[in-house]
């Protein structure tokens, strides 16, 4: 018989973390639902607190779940096959994130090439323009909406350009960190990884500065400033959230590096975090081109 030819299967033990996570998501959904619903009515509910409790519970869950997995991994319990499963799972997760951004880019392109020109009377929509908002002139970025809300354009030079350079550099440093790990050069690994995190944090900081500028009296670029503001804040906002998540992942990896984890051949978490980091970089480049420049 051929029993010994193959690696045996490994099935991990039961865990209470998923159900904790399910309760946490429940609290987040109920809390956020309640919070958002009472937002405009002014009568503050308890939604915010439920939401906060849910977020805390999620953090606790992630901490517990990941420590558990890390301990099992360090104890050498995982087979080669398990490692592969993690890798493939992470890749498909990133693909699903790509599709999430695709929906928002789709909305951006639709507005730019279809809905805004149509409102201005393009193609066979002369009547739409004439009847609904005769004064409206189509343009992109849409600085004056059909109902007359005015705003200004966020230029690409200045902060956005600096941010692009920061993120591109951080992709390189992440790659250098990876090479250092492969050569088992722990010192360079720590340095490059540290740089990557630093660049990510600075990026986020500058993003906040840019938002504050956008929301200033001078620019008047709000979420409510029509389709330009909507696409601008949702695309950059979700990107920023992903950078935040990526930075947290890198920080966790950094702490593990300090503890002496990862070897050139066994470094799934490190690689997963760096794939994710490259992914948020690519999204930013596309975003920089289509939201800021053209």
């Amino acid at each position: 018989m051929t029993t010994k030819e193959y690696e045996s299967y490994y099935v991990p033990s039961q865990s209470h973390w998923p159900i904790v996570g399910a309760v946490a998501l429940f609290l987040i959904a109920v809390g956020a639902g309640n919070y958002v619903s009472t937002l405009n009515s002014g009568e503050g509910g308890i939604g915010g607190y439920i939401l906060l409790a849910g977020v805390c519970l999620v953090i606790y869950m992630l901490y517990g779940w990941f420590s558990n997995v890390i301990n099992e991994s360090m104890a050498g319990k995982y087979s080669h096959q398990m490692d592969n499963s993690f890798r493939q799972g992470m890749s498909w997760f990133i693909f699903s994130e790509v599709m999430f951004f695709a929906a928002f880019f789709g909305a951006l392109f639709y507005a730019r090439t279809l809905s805004v020109p149509w409102l201005g009377g393009a193609d066979n929509n002369a009547m739409t323009g004439a009847v609904l908002w005769p004064e409206f002139v189509a343009s992109w970025p849409l600085l004056v909406t059909p109902d007359g809300t005015e705003t200004t354009q966020m230029g690409w030079y200045g902060l956005p350009l600096i941010n692009t350079i920061l993120l591109l550099t951080s992709s390189i440093t992440a790659h250098l960190a990876h090479s250092a790990l492969e050569k088992d050069n722990r010192k360079m690994l720590k340095i490059w990884l540290g740089f990557t995190i630093l660049l990510g944090v600075v990026f986020l900081f500058l993003q906040v500065v840019e938002y504050m500028h956008g929301y200033s009296e001078e620019m008047k670029l709000y979420l409510t400033s029509g389709i330009y503001g909507s696409t601008f804040y949702l695309l950059t906002g979700f990107h920023g959230m992903h950078v935040t998540l990526g930075t947290i992942m890198l920080i966790v990896v950094f702490l593990r590096v300090l503890k002496g984890h990862f070897t050139p051949t066994n470094a799934f978490a490190f690689e997963a975090a760096s794939w994710y980091w490259h992914f948020v970089d690519v999204v930013w480049v596309i975003l920089f081109v289509f939201v800021y420049i053209v």
Partner: protein
């Protein structure tokens, strides 16, 4: 495919999951069979819940005039009925099948990511608890239809919209994680020698479905997010006054929505493609053409979405493009129907309940496919759109299609799941009652629609009264018939004739090489396939 299974060692130190006792077993489980069972029960409970809402809808429509519910509440009923059936009944039922069967069929010990698997399941009941709780809120449940078109769901929505959005987010997260698990299990956990083209067609269809899910569920998440910000944070995605467009909503929704309908039918194709050969005692006709047909349906499903929007308005080129692409899907679908019929051709057939449901599937799904083709013709859709003809179409493909395949599969594998044979005569009662009532329920809807009865309206013109009475009677009968299924399942779990490892002499596949009921851990070392 001949298989040679290695004797399972009774004790194996590579499994860290030793069966727990009581409720903890279900809450903490990492076992694909436990999780499959949970999914299946959850789906059935949701089926009954969604069914109860449908009963109220049919009671209201029994006679013309407003009888028992307010129009707004009627809208809430149709909306939540649709959402529950799609996201709560059909999809989780298929995920349940995937969990139970895929590891056994590819010779894996479990799903690739067992703990995530647990999480994917347990967030679902919470999501539906939130959705259902909106019925008890001051504003009532969502009332804008399961397709939640803007501006009904933005400007004119009621106070529960935020809860709806977050519930959908959780359902989406669950589906995406479930799908990732299926993909990784199939790519990474197949027993050595199980090449892609040796996989059972069942596995192939779930594989392709999982890709569809990973690709479109995030788009659904995106569109509900835009809806949320439009409603509560003043963005203008679907508001023309701000430069957006309500039509954009429909494009984004149907970019998700059309692949979604294939998510609900491709696994059904896999199930009947497993059952028909078993009871025709012949190999599946044209295995590889089935694989390619499934893949082409999946690819085409991304470029047909606007056939739901013919009357919404599009440039002429768009109307024509989406019409032709939609009709193109009929080709691979035809290949499938041809192959099922060819499999039965000159087979030595027997008609146990799984086979009955499968044959009914082939015939009735094809009726749904034909009405789909009629709807795909742009000029005639201008008349049919938003009438009961559409309702008839999608209930033929979803009830006599997806749901019937789920019943077929449940009867087929119940002996493997429970270790007992189900009661064949009771099951036949379930089949025949369902078959008659479902046609009484949905067939007249075609004529109602052709005659112009609009969907989603609680009242109707007098000339539709007779047909609607019969439709409602069919509806109540169909609803009651499903309780027979509940009885069969409970009886089967509690006892009955002992099932042998392979109760169906024509069945093939690795799952029949292990005992019935399948042991808690199936393969701890890879079986050998040649």
């Amino acid at each position: 495919m001949t298989t040679d299974v290695i004797e399972q060692e009774s004790h194996d130190d590579h499994h860290d999951d030793h069966k727990m006792k009581g409720i903890k077993r279900w809450l903490y489980t990492t076992n694909h069979k436990d999780i499959g069972t949970l999914y299946l029960w959850f789906a059935f409970i949701m089926l009954l819940t969604g069914g109860a809402l449908a009963m109220v809808i049919r009671a209201e429509l029994f006679q013309p005039g407003l009888q028992i519910v307010e129009p707004d509440f009627f809208n809430q009923l149709t909306t939540v009925h649709g959402l529950i059936m799609v996201f709560g009944a059909i999809m989780p039922a298929f995920t349940g099948f995937a969990n139970w069967m895929i590891p056994m069929m590819v010779g894996a010990p479990d799903m690739a990511l067992p703990r995530m698997n647990n999480w994917s399941f347990w967030i679902l009941p919470f999501a539906f608890a939130i959705l259902l709780s909106t019925f008890f809120m001051e504003s009532g449940a969502p009332n804008f239809g399961w397709t939640f078109y803007a501006p009904l769901s933005t400007t004119y929505s009621n106070g529960s919209t935020a809860f709806f959005v977050f519930a959908v987010h959780i359902m989406g997260i669950s589906s995406i994680m479930g799908a990732i698990n299926i993909v990784v299990t199939i790519m990474n956990m197949r027993a050595p020698g199980m090449t892609y083209m040796k996989m059972p067609l069942f596995v192939w269809t779930f594989f392709i479905t999982a890709y569809l899910l990973i690709a479109v569920m995030p788009v659904l998440a995106g569109v509900v997010t835009m809806l949320l910000t439009d409603t509560y944070f003043g963005t203008s995605f679907f508001d023309a006054a701000g430069g957006g467009d309500p039509v954009l909503f429909q494009h984004l929704f149907w970019f998700f929505g059309h692949p979604e309908v294939y998510i609900m039918i491709l696994p059904a194709f896999g199930i009947v493609s497993t059952i028909i050969p078993a009871f025709a005692r012949k190999k599946l006709f044209g295995y590889s053409s089935m694989v390619y047909a499934t893949a082409s349906i999946a690819l085409l499903s991304f470029i047909v979405w606007a056939h739901h929007m013919f009357t919404t308005g599009m440039p002429l080129f768009g109307e024509l493009f989406f019409m032709y692409c939609t009709m193109l899907i009929a080709v691979p679908t035809g290949v499938k129907v041809f192959n099922w019929v060819a499999t039965m051709w000159r087979g030595s057939m027997s008609f146990e309940t799984p086979m009955l449901f499968s044959i009914a599937f082939v015939i009735l799904f094809t009726i749904g496919g034909f009405s789909g083709l009629m709807l795909a013709l742009t000029p005639v859709d201008f008349q049919y759109h938003d009438t009961y003809f559409v309702v008839a179409h999608f209930h033929y493909v979803l009830v006599t299609g997806s749901l019937f395949s789920i019943y077929a599969g449940a009867y087929f594998w119940l002996p493997k799941w429970t270790g007992h044979m189900y009661n064949e005569s009771l099951a036949k009662w379930h089949f025949w009652c369902s078959l008659v009532s479902v046609n009484l329920l949905f067939f007249p809807m075609h004529f109602l629609g052709l005659a112009g009865m609009p969907r989603r309206i609680p009242d109707y013109a007098l000339q539709f009264a007779d047909f609607n009475k019969w439709v409602s009677i069919g509806g109540f009968a169909f609803g009651l018939s499903q309780l027979i299924f509940l009885a069969v399942v409970i009886k089967c779990i509690r006892g009955g004739e002992k099932a042998p490892a392979k109760p169906w002499d024509g069945a093939e596949g690795l799952e029949w090489t292990v005992a019935s009921p399948a042991p808690y851990h199936t393969f701890s070392t890879p079986p050998k396939i040649d």
